[in-house]
């Protein structure tokens, strides 16, 4: 029997033909995975995190394997926002897929400048990464202080014109709903979560951390339960659509995030094992929706029945 479920979802006015995106930093600018399948199969592409100027990132090793997860310390290596607009955006525009630019700044002003450039170039959404250090605030991550997160959100909104702004929350906080509320009040159109959890792995033979930066960000199946819990908490605290991510590798994982309150989901680390993971997640999700007798996958969003 052909699948009858309507897979379209609407994330803050951005309509995607299915709810499965790929997570920023795990998919480059799409060119590599575009050699395996038509990028139009995917709902949306969160492009590699951009900064105002080109960055070479951190020294290697930048990856360590952990139980059902990985740690990374790439350090935002990217060609800069202008190079993205000139060389990468035209490539992505060939496909029937939503393009979500992901940005990080050293100062709130940098976020503003990048939003202006991207809005003019015409992306479908801007994802504001607030897990990076604020140089002006002594290197403190924006994402850990409600007032800093709100300031960046306001700056982004002021310069993004009609392009919806989605703020990506860090899980490395005591109460993620505090940040979510501050960002919502500052005018964010959507939220994405979770970014990576800070972690560390030590080589017991050498007594050295595996990562050259000593610590890094944890992702992969190990973080899924944390992501589900945080999406659930945030969905109750604010009235904004959520792009849920963290450890999704199959349809059931995506369904959990949607039941917890996500409108759409993103797949990241799972692609390192299987380049086709986003397509498998999409198909698995459709099967689950069909099995549950739903007419639209969007009916999963927030349908959890807590005890």
């Amino acid at each position: 029997m052909p699948n009858q479920v309507d897979m379209t979802v609407n994330l803050a006015g951005m309509v995607m033909k299915n709810p499965v995106c790929v997570a920023s930093g795990t998919y480059g600018f799409g060119r590599e995975y575009g050699q395996f399948y038509d990028l139009s199969e995917i709902g949306g592409i969160c492009a590699k995190g951009l900064t105002l100027h080109r960055r070479e990132g951190n020294p290697a090793p930048r990856i360590a394997e952990t139980p059902m997860g990985i740690l990374n310390s790439v350090g935002l290596q990217n060609p800069g926002v202008d190079a993205f607009i000139e060389h990468e955006l035209p490539y992505l525009r060939q496909f029937d897929v939503k393009v979500i630019a992901n940005i990080s700044g050293n100062t709130p002003e940098e976020y503003g400048i990048m939003c202006e450039k991207l809005a003019e170039a015409g992306v479908d959404m801007i994802e504001v990464n607030i897990s990076c250090p604020n140089v002006k605030a002594g290197g403190l991550a924006y994402g850990t202080r409600p007032e800093l997160a709100a300031e960046v959100t306001r700056e982004a909104k002021a310069h993004a014109g009609p392009v919806p702004v989605m703020v990506k929350l860090s899980p490395n906080v005591t109460d993620i709903t505090d940040i979510a509320k501050a960002v919502a009040d500052a005018g964010a159109d959507a939220l994405s979560l979770i970014n990576t959890l800070r972690g560390m792995r030590i080589d017991v033979n050498t007594n050295r951390p595996v990562l050259k930066m000593n610590t890094g960000g944890l992702s992969g199946p190990a973080v899924l339960p944390v992501a589900v819990r945080m999406v659930w908490e945030v969905a109750q605290a604010v009235n904004l659509p959520i792009l849920g991510m963290g450890g999704v590798s199959k349809g059931e994982d995506a369904a959990q995030l949607m039941l917890a309150g996500a409108t759409a989901v993103a797949v990241g680390t799972a692609m390192f094992a299987d380049p086709f993971a986003p397509i498998a997640v999409r198909d698995g999700l459709a099967d689950i929706a069909q099995r549950k007798g739903l007419t639209a996958v969007a009916q999963l969003t927030g349908a959890v029945q807590p005890w």
């Binding site: 480059g28 590599e32 395996f36 990132g57 394997e65 299987d274």
Partner: protein, 259 residues
């Protein structure tokens, strides 16, 4: 590049102390993605490990119905131990062929240098070369020596060395590289694969003689295809390139050997 989820292990042999050779049926992977000798495959090593393991192609060829890729590897940790324990006839999930390999010209005259588990990929280079090359092969000790007969079949000259002198020349390969480059001025390039300190020394020797040198680098990998940017290699100009996509083979002059 392709994902072949069920590559049958056609043949499995133990070559030397700890080194396993496996020939895999890889569908049309070679036909569709062979560029040069020295590319690699990214192998899934069981369900419990999230990351694939990069292994160089030793030799490969087109076939009917299936192309064949031979890999040679050492069991170092959990992933390679899992792979080494897979019996012939079983399937493995392979992503490949990845990277660019050594850009070899059919009429080029090459000095091939391999060290340890960096020896096997040089066999593919030797087979590919139109003019029979010379191979300098370094091993830790006699127990680790492998593939010599197969190199002899396709090389003009094979010069083995061991660190402890238990077989062949007593010492490191860069001494033999200097000796060979001093005696023979006709090499177009030195191609090398092995541990980083060895590569640095070989690159230095080649530079002394003004011969271009290409080296195959290792780095920890995620995606293997150029999307995640974890496999950074520091370049002499201060930039960072990626071993999986830009490499694994680089011009030795481009690499920052002090990093």
């Amino acid at each position: 590049m392709k994902v072949e989820r069920r590559c049958k292990i056609l043949e499995k042999t133990v070559l030397a102390d700890g080194a396993v050779s496996m020939t895999l049926e890889v569908g049309d992977m070679v036909r569709t993605s062979f560029k040069n000798p020295g590319q690699f495959v990214h192998v899934k090593c069981g369900e419990g490990l999230l990351l694939r393991r990069p292994i160089s192609v030793c030799t490969c060829g087109e076939g009917d119905p299936s192309d064949l890729v031979r890999i040679v590897f050492e069991a170092r940790g959990e992933g390679t131990a899992w792979l080494a324990a897979r019996p012939a006839g079983h399937p493995v999930d392979v992503l490949g062929l990845l990277g660019n390999g050594f850009p070899m010209k059919k009429d080029g005259r090459y000095l091939l240098v391999g060290g340890g588990i960096g020896v096997p990929p040089m066999l593919g280079c030797a087979q590919f070369a139109g003019v029979k090359p010379t191979a300098i092969l370094g091993f830790r000790s006699k127990e680790k020596v492998m593939l010599l007969d197969e190199f002899a079949d396709v090389c003009e000259k094979v010069l083995p060395a061991t660190d402890d002198g238990s077989f062949g020349y007593h010492g490191f390969v860069d001494a033999l590289v200097r000796q060979e480059l001093a005696e023979n001025k006709e090499y177009d390039a030195v191609l090398a694969c092995g541990p980083k300190p060895m590569l640095r020394n070989v690159a230095k020797a080649a530079e002394e003689f003004g011969v271009p040198c290409l080296v195959s680098m290792e780095e920890r990998m995620g995606c293997g295809v150029g999307a995640c940017l974890v496999c950074a290699c520091d370049m002499a100009d201060g930039s960072r390139k990626h071993v999986c996509k830009d490499g694994p083979v680089f011009d030795a002059k481009e690499v920052d050997w002090n990093a």
